[in-house]
């Protein structure tokens, strides 16, 4: 297996943001069956090591594409964008909204108001879906995004990253 293969090509998926999970899951299983280290049990050490590395590559590719945030980040990288880093700035309006939502979540948590926490989580999920919807429009099949589209996509991936962290925190608060 060529471990430099584009993750989308690896799973016979079009290179775009919108994901067909059924195809991803089926291709993943088929690939793993082919490269699984156990199938190399009788082969020599080199073949076995190659099988382990191939399986790790397939799994990493699978996790990357399955995760909405990482899929966006991966697509950005496909088009030679600089990696997401500390130089990136989120819009003040977005951050203000997030700060308010975080305050509301803290308050609800201290008050033991589970309903409020869940309604905040619902709005967060909606916000995440909105970012994902925007990414699906920017990264479409067989089309290299313009520089302008890439800059927009970058903001959406960053926002999605931010919202995902917040949603994870909220999940923890709701579970307690």
């Amino acid at each position: 297996m060529d471990r430099k293969t584009d993750y989308f090509a690896l799973f016979d998926l079009p290179r775009r943001y919108a994901l067909d999970e059924t195809v991803l899951n089926e291709s993943w299983r088929a690939l793993l069956a082919r490269v699984h280290p156990d199938t190399a049990v009788l082969a020599d050490a080199t073949a076995k090591r190659k099988a382990i590395e191939d399986a790790a590559y397939v799994n990493e590719a699978y996790r990357t594409l399955k995760d909405p945030m990482r899929r966006g980040d991966y697509l950005l990288q496909c088009y030679d964008e600089a990696p997401l880093g500390s130089g990136d700035v989120l819009p003040v309006e977005f951050l203000s909204e997030q700060l308010e939502a975080r305050e509301a979540a803290d308050e609800a948590w201290r008050a033991g108001n589970r309903d409020r926490l869940e309604s905040l989580q619902t709005s967060l999920r909606a916000a995440q879906r909105q970012q994902q919807g925007a990414l699906a429009v920017l990264f479409v099949e067989d089309e290299t995004p313009s520089a302008e589209a890439l800059a927009k996509a970058r903001q959406h991936v960053l926002s999605l990253q931010f919202l995902t962290r917040f949603a994870d925190d909220l999940d923890e608060k709701i579970d307690v």
């Binding site: 997401l84 500390s86 990136d88 700035v89 989120l90 003040v92 977005f94 951050l95 203000s96 997030q98 700060l99 975080r102 305050e103 803290d106 960053l158 926002s159 990253q161 931010f162 995902t164 962290r165 917040f166 994870d168 925190d169």
Partner: protein, 154 residues
């Protein structure tokens, strides 16, 4: 991972938590966020007529190191001029709080926040002096001295 004594101290007794009214003219607001960890930091300064930072407030949602970094910075900027505050480096914050390498980004966030607050204050005061300039012009036209009266402008 263990936090240093100083981080814990700021985390348990954060200084200057709260908000100023961001619409007030002598207030500068810096709002920054770290997408990777979901931290969001608001840092505000109140600047006196002499250009010295009189007071500061912060609100941070994030880990202990992010809270400690912003708490420390609000203490440090008080009594400093804007230029002095601009010169605060994240490495100084990281050193003071003994932040481990994985938490350096928290000190960078605090440095970004203070810079953003100063930039916001400067943008506001420039807009203000610009507006005043227009008022003066309008006033001068309206109250133009009667002809024959000369004004020394030296």
């Amino acid at each position: 991972m263990a936090y240093s004594e100083k981080v814990l101290e700021h985390y348990e007794n954060p200084r200057n938590v709260g908000s100023f009214d961001k619409k007030e003219r002598d207030v500068g607001t810096g709002m920054v966020g770290a997408p990777a960890c979901g931290d969001v930091m608001k840092l505000q300064i109140r600047v006196g007529k002499d250009g010295v930072i009189e007071d500061a407030r912060f609100k941070t949602y994030g880990c202990g190191s992010a809270i400690a970094s912003s708490s420390l910075v609000t203490e440090w900027v008080k009594g400093k001029t804007l230029d002095e505050a601009m010169a605060i480096k994240n490495s100084q914050i990281a050193e003071e709080l003994a932040l481990p390498p994985v938490k350096i980004h928290c000190s960078i966030l605090a440095e970004d926040a203070i810079r953003a607050a100063i930039a916001d204050y400067k943008a506001k005061s420039e807009a203000k002096s610009g507006a005043q300039g227009h008022e003066e012009t309008a006033e001068a036209t309206a109250c133009a001295p009667p002809t024959g009266v000369s004004r020394t402008t030296s």
